[in-house]
Symmetry: C2
């Protein structure tokens, strides 16, 4: 069987790679890219079969760039995974929690480990462009008295030692990733649908849109809005709901919705990621 | 009359200062602060009477940090302004469009002037922490062959020359700012209300919330969601709608809403900013 290639944003060992392994197994070939736009492009041009885009974090919120890229590209959501974010303090030979002076990581990861830094006031936080990238940098430069905050997978790839695990302030820290493909496909067991739509800017427009789901007691799991460029104070809406596009209940809801929207696109129908791991 | 003090994020001459002048006149004293959290704190502690927080841009979307700060602090929205964002190319003696080699500005401003950089491929974009701050830096260092992208007000404050105005790709570029105060007050002519609420995570919950407005044909102008920390996959909703909290129609809608929400807070009732300038 040919090896599946999946494009991720960031260095090898990022949380995206951990999510890719969870969803596609350890044999999947990970293709690191610099930006989110690059991972979408990689799939659109056929370089990678899939890409894995983080779409929301339960502490930081939605990843708006990826919401925009979903509409700018013609890819399809074919899978989802909710990854528990566990931050690890990773160092190399010679560094211990005793002689630690600097900790490198992405600013969001540093911010999510505030309690650790309060308990260790002499340890300096140094913002870096990537979590796994900070482990890679320490591995290359062999800086003593420095550590990085990153995933368990990053420690493995670059040969770092985990000095301390679960550095994060909140244990309820999950990132939801979407698996995107050029080909539309509704996998077996698909039970979730993502759509995007826009409405006329009139009173009650959004209420009417939601009524097509309420009428059928369809459960909405997420709603997001983004500005409609060139139309100030108007918005696109993104909606996730429980269902399968092949079921009549869902088909009818989408048919009704198309009557009251100016624009409607089904972004994908896929198997929902586990909500607790 | 004592001078009114308004805290803004960023250096003197930022778009926040332009917004402050539009709303409070040129006599208002502007108090620059480093972070958004600092401007909220400045008002909460009584150092400034007001602060001015950017809440959304018609191209980039919502400023999520300020949405979170609205709920974390006990301030009240008492005004609003929609500022047309005009980007100016600002330089000092010796620099012309002919010898221009570097342009400094905030990454968002640089990204919003993409067409200018396509027409001038030899000009390097250099990301800087602040738009007005980049003008200030050039004024201090007298760098020849460099310019900054910032507001007209910044050019005036630091004595820079506007080489070119309207550098932005999209003319429909507005930022909406909220004026916040420690004291709750409903100003004369108030016609807009902002609220935040959370619902039980059950099918139809959001639909029921919107029904209290649809029933009364109340126009919703913006809806935003943010994660409820510690409750993965649950959300706070922020809603703006046309009305005045003293009118019975609005009072009844809010009373109905309190029946179907777990949490409800009125963030303010204020005069809507002009939608075209």
């Amino acid at each position: 069987m040919p090896q599946v290639t999946v494009a991720i944003q960031g260095e090898r060992g990022s949380f995206s790679e951990e999510a890719a392994q969870t969803l596609l197994g350890r044999d999947a070939r990970v293709l690191p890219k610099e930006t989110f736009a690059d991972i979408f492009k990689s799939v659109a041009e056929g370089e990678a079969r899939y890409c894995l885009a983080p779409i929301e974090n339960t502490l930081a919120g939605s990843v708006y760039e990826n919401y925009d890229l979903l509409l700018e590209n013609d890819l399809h959501i074919v899978g989802e995974v909710n990854l528990r974010i566990v931050h690890n303090l990773i160092a190399f030979a010679g560094t211990t929690t005793g002689n630690l002076r600097q900790v490198y990581s992405h600013p969001v990861a540093l911010a999510q480990c505030g309690k650790f830094f309060k308990r260790h006031p002499k340890v300096e936080k140094i913002p870096f462009y990537d979590t796994a990238g900070s482990v890679k940098m320490l591995a290359e430069r062999k800086v003593v008295s420095a550590a990085a905050i990153a995933s368990r997978v990053a420690a493995g790839i670059y040969g770092g030692r985990i000095l301390k695990s679960h550095l994060e302030d909140h244990s309820e820290n999950y990132t939801r990733f979407l698996l995107l493909s050029r080909k539309a496909a509704t996998p077996p067991g698909a039970n979730k649908v993502s759509i995007a739509f826009s409405t006329r800017n009139v009173p009650g427009a959004l209420f009417k849109c939601l009524s097509v789901f309420a009428l059928r007691e369809i459960d909405l799991t997420k709603m997001e809005s983004r500005p409609l460029r060139g139309h100030p104070w108007e918005y696109f809406f993104y909606l996730d709901f429980a269902g399968n596009v092949k079921d009549s209940r869902c088909k009818n809801a989408l048919a009704d919705l198309s009557e009251v929207t100016d624009f409607l696109r089904v972004l994908g129908c896929y198997k929902s990621g586990k909500r607790r791991q």
